[in-house]
Amino acid sequence: MTVFVAPSLSYSLLAPILIVLGGAVITVVFEAFLSKAIRPVAQLSVTLGTLVLALVQVWRIRHESSLTAAMGSVAIDGPAILLQATVLILAVLGVFLIADNEHFTVVAATLPGSEEERASIQSGEKLTEVYPLTLFAVAGMMLFPIATDLITLFVALEVLSLPLYLMAGLSRRRRLMSQEAALKYFLLGAFSSAFFLFGAAFLYGYSGSVSLAGIYDAISGGTGNNVFLMIGIVFLSVGLLFKVGAVPFHAWTPDVYQGAPTPITAFMAAATKVAAFGAILRIFYTSFSNAYWDWRPILTVIAIITMVFGSVVAISQRDIKRMLAYSSIAHAGFLLAGVIALNKAGLDASIFYLFAYGVATLGAFAVVTLVRDSAGEVTDLNRWAGLGKRSPFVATIFATLLLAFAGIPLTSGFIGKFSIFSAAYESGNKLIVVVGVLSSAIAAYFYVRVIVLMFFTDPADDGTSVIIPSILTRATIISTFAITIFLGVFPAPFLNFISSTATFIR
């Protein structure tokens, strides 16, 4: 008879995730028991407090390194700390945007256009369910990149995805589109999760283990059935690549980015990418590293078509949110180039890129929330004409962020792209560098086109205007702008910090 052994947990190392989950539970309780009047302020404070507390705890354990924090299910190491901190910082900036209730419907369950919907809006109440949802998603995003077995990975994947499906459907304006986006996201997410699970099963069949270390040992030993390994890697990759929006698993991205409330899009675009790429880096760098020559070709193909597809299709977009969605697809391709490099430089560059890209994305969507007319946000690009003349300050910030996306020097985007491509070049993958640079050139076209539209086209008198942002939104915009410039001009300290910290433990 086996004796039950109590699991040993290192609570201090798990504390960041536990704090966020605890905060999420508190917000659920608040949602049930607090009066509607004080709920918005209370929920916002608890959410921000939780995130900041978790960030402080991440900082305190930054030098720790452990594989046994949760019985071998998670790894606490340099990349884990960096990615968790990135997710938390992006979450704080994202919550600043989410705090503007103007974007959210009041009762998500009401039928669009119905009497109940109108009544709920007229009641003047505010939606606060978004806070617990955000915290649960953040907890999932923090777990995803540190999980070291396939079961934990799958749990994390679902914990981060389910709240996002709901959040995508909360838009106040164009509710049908928003709900359609949520449903699409859910269906396709479920579909890809199935692939992920299927892949996990094959890998278990190959190695007899669900832990990344076990799979690594099996690959090193070379005793298993290689067909199982290949199918396992491919299907697991499908699930992961779906989350980052790589072609051809990207199709949800434009629809969801466009349909979701813009603050949610901002948070999702920035933080999900960090979490998913964190998981990809860990899995491919630690577990699959000895099967490099098997997965390198498929990821190379995916990276190339992702970069090219994202950049080329973005050119013909007429909607700013869809354009940014395709731009995020292209960036997923650039990031894959860092994964494929499979060297220390590639890891460092990817982490830097994730942070820089996440920050710039949040800032860009934050600006999108400001451009409105009487019916809500204006996302039609043609109506952004002349914005630079009416609101030079906001337009300048947006232009800077676009230049960062395009990878123009003196912005963080340049440093990110440069380090990613030099890492890829170092690893001998010249093809991907050439395609990457060419796609960047194509991508620069549509970023600069928006700048030209804003600054060199006469404004049309159609009621489009930039609203005065709330103090929190302003904080997000200004800090993202400052970080983008700072990392572009003075990246060395940050790069050094990453490269001295980021080492996977196996």
Binding site: L188, N226, V234, F249, P297, V301, I302, V312, Q317, Y445
Partner: protein
């Protein structure tokens, strides 16, 4: 030796320029005073340095100051450092000394100009840049000053840019200088490529190991740079037009200092030219051509400033010729540069004084008999005149005769040709300078009654007097006991001037004097004995007409460079629009339509999205299967 005070030489005038430009109209009332004081302070710093230098032994005199590490890329390191040695101190004193006098002169000369403050700001900027040029310890540092003086020159030539012709003159000077600047930057690049260094000391050390081909290339590039800045053949055409600038500018920049930068560059690079005889010979030839070219143009000009400009071109030709004669000539080139700085600046200020009294009239045919109305101007101008034509014991006699003598002593056909040209040039110089003096100060009055010629105020004549003193005495001082030659010996290798002596110094002097007298006599016959028409006669020989048209220099440039250049740009623009832009537009068009086509995969139906995912998974499996097969 190092010194901490070299930087003040540059910093003081630079500070003045910055204050005047940034303070704007607020400094209108005191700006010119500040600028003059700062220029004077720089002169004082220079004098102190000079005194300290005199106190050290001859091989210890050079001092350096490192300001900061400028460029550090791999093994390529350039410091922003200053170096003051026996050669640069000559220039420092000339620039700050004459510069300060001209600042003082300009206070009165520009007193009616609304933009006087801006004028002084540019003057200070020029002083700072010129000092950087002569103080830089590497070609790269020199280049910064080189471009700086180009900028100041451009700004000051076009100072009255409300007149389109003046703005065009500024542009012309700028473009011609750009051609020369290209030579300098190429020289810097070649020297870095072949020797791995661009500092004077480094290049001097490496010059012994470098190939003659590389050194010749560097030498020719430096020569091109010098012809641009110093208005030497074939880049001489801008100097005449540069007289559009206010007269003090012509005196300071386009006579005494900036235009001699080319001579400085060649002398400073003596280690290159001494190791590249072909380049050195070219320098001498260019000098000889230009000294005749300028002198001939000078005979045909009625505009007093343009006549003086042609004379400047010719005199710099002498200096370049001297510098092209190698170790025997460097010291005399510099000596002529310094004496010329005195007498030519003095004469330009004299011309300015005449214009000041004659309502800005520049046509000498409208002058005549002014000596009675402007005695001081006449006296100082006259002393400068005696110096330039080389009458002993005035300054020009010593410096110019030495160059002629060294030219003859170069030996063989080379010596006879160069020496002959220099001798002929001296005769022509005597002719056209006598013509200027006669037309302006002698003869009968030819101005109309509206003009009221009068002597200029003391602020103007005082600098003229001081410069005239220099014109009289500097030659004696520099040659007394070969003082300048010995002074410069550690910087430029000197050699005994009398190897293979062709003509004895006394013979050269007598020959030159005879020819000068002939020139003076011819001018007196032509312009003093006969009445001078107040309009230039039109029924003149083809030679006069060509000389009046500046020996067709502009026609040549227009036909050979400008028109073909315009055609070339037209063709290039058309090619750019059709081929390059066409290709770009085509690519953009293809990309856009590809984007639209690919965008159609975005149907909006979940079923088709799911199908993409499925197809993607199958595709990946297929890929991996093919790869691992």
């Amino acid at each position: 030796m190092t010194s901490n005070s070299l930087v003040y030489l540059i910093a003081l005038p630079l500070f003045g320029s910055a204050v005047l430009l940034l303070a704007g109209r607020r400094s209108d009332r005191w700006g010119h005073i500040l600028a003059t004081v700062l220029s004077g302070s720089a002169f004082v710093v220079g004098l102190v340095q000079f005194a300290q230098m005199l106190g050290r032994s001859n091989d210890q005199r050079a001092v350096t100051q490192k300001l900061f590490s400028w460029i550090s890329v791999g093994t390529f390191k350039v410091d922003a450092s200053l170096m003051l040695d026996q050669l640069s101190i000559c220039f420092v004193l000339l620039i700050t000394g004459v510069g300060t006098l001209i600042h003082i002169y300009s206070i009165a000369y520009m007193s009616h100009d609304l933009d006087r403050r801006r004028f002084f700001a540019y003057l200070n900027l020029f002083i700072a840049a010129m000092l950087l040029l002569v103080l830089g310890d590497s070609y790269l540092n020199l280049y910064v000053g080189w471009e700086g003086v180009g900028l100041a020159s451009y700004l000051l030539i076009g100072f009255w840019n409300q007149k389109p012709a003046y703005a065009t003159a500024a542009k012309k000077a700028f473009v011609a200088n750009r051609v020369g600047d290209l030579g300098l930057s190429l020289a810097i690049m070649i020297s870095f490529a072949t020797m791995g260094t661009v500092s004077f000391a480094g290049v001097k050390e490496q010059a012994g190991h470098a190939s003659t081909g590389a050194l010749t290339a560097i030498g020719i590039m430096l020569l091109i740079a010098a012809t641009g800045k110093s208005a030497q053949f074939p880049l001489q055409a801008w100097l005449g037009d540069a007289m559009a600038g206010p007269t003090p500018v012509s005196a300071l920049i386009h006579a005494a200092t900036m235009v001699t930068a080319g001579v400085y560059l060649i002398t400073r690079s003596n280690f290159i030219f001494d190791a590249a005889p072909t380049a050195q010979l070219l320098v001498a030839i260019i000098g000889a051509i230009t000294l005749l070219f300028g002198a001939i143009i000078g005979t045909a000009k009625d505009d007093i400033k343009k006549a003086l400009a042609a004379s400047t071109m010719s005199q710099i030709g002498y200096m370049v010729l001297g510098a092209g004669l190698g170790p025997a000539g460097y010291a005399f080139a510099i000596m002529h540069l310094l004496t010329h700085g005195f007498f030519k600046a003095g004469m330009f200020l004299g011309a300015g004084s005449v214009m000041h009294g004659m309502d800005d009239e520049v046509n000498m045919r409208r002058y005549g008999g002014l000596r009675k109305f402007m005695p001081i101007t006449f006296a100082t101008f006259g002393l400068g005149y005696l110096a330039i034509i080389g009458v002993p014991p005035f300054a020009g006699f010593y410096s110019k005769d030495k160059i002629i003598e060294v030219a003859f002593n170069a030996g063989g056909i080379k010596g006879i040709t160069l020496g002959g040209a220099a001798l002929l040039g001296a005769a022509i110089t005597a002719f056209y300078m006598t013509r200027v003096v006669i037309l302006t100060f002698a003869g009968s009055k030819r101005w109309d009654d509206k003009a009221h010629p009068h002597e200029s105020p003391a602020l103007m004549w005082l600098p003229m007097v001081l410069l005239a003193v220099g014109s009289v005495t500097s030659g004696i001082i520099f040659t007394h006991g070969n003082s300048l030659q010995n002074w410069l010996a550690p910087v430029v290798a000197t050699s005994p001037a009398h190897e293979g002596e062709l003509l004895k110094p006394a013979v050269v002097s007598i020959l030159a004097l005879v020819l000068v007298l002939a020139g003076v006599g011819l001018a007196i016959m032509k312009y003093l004995r006969k009445p001078v028409p107040s309009e230039a006669p039109t029924d003149v020989s083809i030679f006069t007409r060509i000389a009046r048209r500046d020996l067709l220099q502009d026609d040549f440039n227009e036909a050979v460079f400008m028109r073909p250049g315009q055609k070339l740009t037209e063709v290039l623009v058309a090619t750019d629009e059709l081929l390059v832009d066409g290709a770009v537009r085509g690519v953009a068009h293809i990309t856009q339509s590809t984007g639209r086509t690919l965008g159609m995969t975005q149907t909006g139906f979940v079923r088709s999205y799911a199908m993409w995912i499925l197809l993607g998974a199958i595709g990946l499996l297929a890929t991996i299967w093919v790869v691992t097969l």
